[in-house]
């Protein structure tokens, strides 16, 4: 009886494993999907900054906060190709996830502020920010699945809180400045996420050079 149970149990496990393997999407495919989404995010943020600059009065530029004051600047990330290629894959994944997580709240603030932004293209900006949010959320889900496959290091997320408050200011100039500054920070961070994921994609798909 016991032997029958064990054999039956093994059979069930084998079947479940097969099912799980059959249903599992390979990592290469997941990374490819994630890279495409991060690429989309980066292009959206680039378009947003250009949209802002087209009408943003340049006089306040010098007073704009420097990029070092982005709330994600404290995170140590590779800054060039050699560093990026040397960092382990799980670290890259962790960094990407941390950055993505850091922008969840600020995106909400940006979305709320965009509706009442004193800017002629605020409707376009608002819709693009909402699109960004969607991509960000789905990318976060995808990266979570990926990190589960990549080990414990990939699952560690650095906490990068946004301390800029819930609104952007009270006067027009302040609002616009802060909005612009946040968008530039977002552009930089989205580019980081995109680059890291693409390096990961290329490294994971050694047999598929077309992924690089």
């Amino acid at each position: 009886m016991a032997q029958k149970r064990t054999s039956g149990g093994k059979l069930v496990i084998a079947v479940m494993c097969l099912v799980a393997m059959c249903r599992a999407v390979p990592i290469n495919d997941l990374l490819d999907r994630a890279s495409q989404r991060s690429d989309k995010m980066h292009s959206l943020s680039t378009t947003l900054t250009q949209e802002m600059d087209s009408h943003f009065p340049p006089y306040g530029r010098m007073q704009m906060p420097r990029p070092a004051e982005c709330h994600t600047s404290s995170l140590q990330t590779p800054n060039d190709k050699e560093q990026a290629l040397q960092v382990p894959e799980s670290t890259l994944m962790s960094l990407a996830r941390s950055l993505l997580q850091a922008w969840a709240d600020p995106l909400v603030i940006l979305s709320n502020s965009a509706i009442t932004l004193p800017h002629p293209s605020k409707s376009t900006i608002s819709s693009k920010i909402q699109e960004l949010q969607e991509h960000s959320n789905s990318l976060a889900d995808g990266l979570k699945i990926l990190s589960d496959k990549m080990g414990s290091d990939a699952q560690a997320i650095s906490f990068l809180p946004y301390t800029g408050g819930t609104d952007l200011g009270h006067d027009r100039v302040t609002i616009l400045n802060k909005f612009n500054f946040l968008l530039s920070c977002l552009r930089r961070d989205s580019h980081k996420i995109d680059s890291f994921l693409k390096v990961l994609r290329c490294r994971a798909g050694k047999l598929q050079p077309e992924l690089c």
Binding site: D39, R187, K198, V199
Partner: protein
């Protein structure tokens, strides 16, 4: 006085000369920076006015919160430039650049901030743009290929390159652009033959700035070979048109060939055309009352004669029968049978004669059966009988393999037996004995002259059975029978037999004459009929 003014002028001139020649240098400013492959970057400055003295330019840079460092390479990027190699290049890091101009009189500088070097990423244009005209398929198309700039590393994943291609006709103003991601080839299909096309490609790294367009590549499409096509077209079209014309002209024949007409029902020996000529009254008469035996068309030398024995004058027929067709001997017996039938079914003066033969009942029955058979046969023939019947009969007679194409006979009843089988001679009775008062005694014997009867020749010869008697004399009341021993069935002796035989022919005056000659003693055609009803009016036709 003059020397003082001269000295003053000299001092002023010298002072002016000294002031205009030297000064501190003007302010230089950085006009542009660029990273061509996302690994290094360069910046270029514009020197200001140098102040007339040799001026030295230096560039210092600071990465975020580090200290200022001097430019590592002033040479590689050209004049008034600073080249930052891979080691010195960092992305997502703010750079602060300061360029200084120094000469003997002083220096001047300006600051240039780079928040992110990534914003200055702009690759070189793609290289090796090749355009091929591919004419192997049904339509020619352009095969365009290119390569990314050589200084870009596309294998590590650090830099993701995207391409864009545009083309236009030489004489057009509108470019058509294609976004190709990282593909390094394109096939252009929507091109016009014989046109000259201009093609350009450019690339981009990581969503940065687009590179410059490549130099225009020209491609000329081949013309279609018009004369050849016209020739081919003509060669194909002319036979096609000819075929269509022929088919249209011969569509009836084509229809016949494709869908052959279903043959309608046809009974041998019946001429449908003759039947269609519309002389239905003949058939109606035949069916209802006057049973006129349609006489078959028999060749001249085959005069058939009828023998009908009766003591009634009414049986004597008049002229209508002269023009009727001849019958074969079978018909004669059929006439006998019919009379018997009439005897039964209808009141006729001929009954008397038949009654007297009542003691020969079995023979009569046989006769009757024969009659019925023949009648049936006749009746069978009747529907097909129409004014044109005699000729049909003759035709059938000539063609039929059967000895007797009795299709010309009208039957009162529908016989079961086919007349084609022919009332065999065996069915006819023989006149054995003639009583004094013209009593017809019928004897049924098998007539073994089936061979004679079966003989069916082209001319429709039918021989009379041997056992038919000849009417020797016909009185008003009595018909004398002459015993006939040897009636040759050969048609050649028809004339001989003609003496006793009546011949019914369809409008064959010759035959009639011939027959009438020796048969002059016969009345009319000699066919004795019992009653008018018995008469079968045959339409006379040849």
């Amino acid at each position: 006085m003059r020397t003082r003014s001269c000295l003053v002028v000299l001092c002023m001139l010298s002072a002016v000369g000294v002031c205009s020649s030297t000064s501190a240098p003007g302010v230089p400013y950085i006009r542009d920076c660029r990273s061509p492959e996302k690994e290094t970057f360069s910046c270029w400055w514009e020197p200001g006015y140098d102040g007339g003295l040799p001026t030295q330019y230096r560039l210092y840079y600071q990465k975020e919160k580090e200290s200022f460092k001097e430019c590592p390479d002033y040479v590689s990027a050209g004049e008034n430039s600073c080249y930052f190699n891979k080691i010195h290049t960092s992305f997502w890091v703010e750079y602060t650049l300061r360029v200084e101009a120094t000469n003997a009189f002083g220096n001047s500088s300006s600051v240039f901030e780079i928040p992110d070097v990534m914003t200055y990423v702009k690759p070189d244009p793609p290289v090796n743009v090749t355009v091929l005209v591919n004419s192997t398929g049904p339509t020619p198309y352009l095969q365009i290929k290119w390569r990314p700039p050589p200084n870009v590393d596309t294998k590590s994943g650090w830099a993701t390159i995207k391409f864009e291609l545009r083309h236009k006709r030489n004489d057009s103003d509108n470019w058509e652009t294609f976004n190709l991601d990282s593909r390094e080839y394109l096939n252009l299909y929507n091109i016009e033959p014989g046109a000259l096309y201009m093609i350009q490609v450019r690339c981009m790294l990581d969503g940065g700035s687009w590179s410059d367009w490549t130099k225009t590549t020209f491609a000329k499409m081949p013309d279609i070979e018009k004369p050849l096509w016209i020739l081919v077209f003509a060669f194909c079209l002319i036979p096609l048109l000819a075929t269509i014309c022929i088919l249209a002209l011969k569509r009836e024949m084509l229809k016949q060939w494709v869908l052959p007409p279903v043959p309608g029902p046809k009974i041998r020996g019946v001429d449908v055309q003759l039947l269609k000529s519309g002389r239905t009254e003949d058939f109606a008469v035949a069916l209802i009352g006057n049973v006129n035996f349609p006489m078959k068309m028999v060749p001249v030398d085959q005069v058939e004669e009828y023998l009908l024995v009766s003591d009634s004058k009414e049986w004597l027929l008049a002229d209508p029968y002269t023009s009727e067709k001849k019958k074969d001997p079978m018909v004669i017996s059929a006439g006998l049978h019919l009379e018997s039938e009439i005897q039964r079914g209808k009141s006729s003066p001929g009954q008397n004669a038949w009654d007297k033969a009542g003691d020969r009942k079995d023979e009569e029955e046989r006769f009757e059966s024969n009659v019925s058979q023949s009648e049936r046969n006749l009746l069978n023939m009747e529907p097909m009988e129409k004014p044109g019947y005699p000729s049909v009969d003759q035709a059938a007679f000539t063609n039929a393999t059967q000895p007797l194409a009795h299709s010309s006979y009208v039957d009162i009843q529908q016989p079961e037996n086919s007349w084609e089988a022919g009332p065999t001679p065996t069915d006819y009775s023989r006149v054995n004995e003639v009583n004094g008062e013209a009593i017809l005694i019928l004897n049924s014997k098998n007539v073994s002259d089936g061979s004679d009867v079966q003989r069916q020749e082209g001319n429709g010869e039918v021989s009379a059975p041997d056992d038919y008697s000849r009417v020797k004399e016909v009185n008003s009341d009595v018909v004398f029978l002459q015993k006939h021993e040897s009636v040759d069935s050969c048609g050649k002796r028809k004339e001989d037999r003609c003496t006793g035989w009546t011949s019914q022919k369809p409008a064959m005056p010759l035959e009639l004459e011939r027959s009438k000659g020796p048969c002059s003693e016969m009345i009319g055609n000699g066919y004795v009929d019992s009653a008018p009803a018995f008469t079968v009016q045959l339409p006379v036709q040849v």
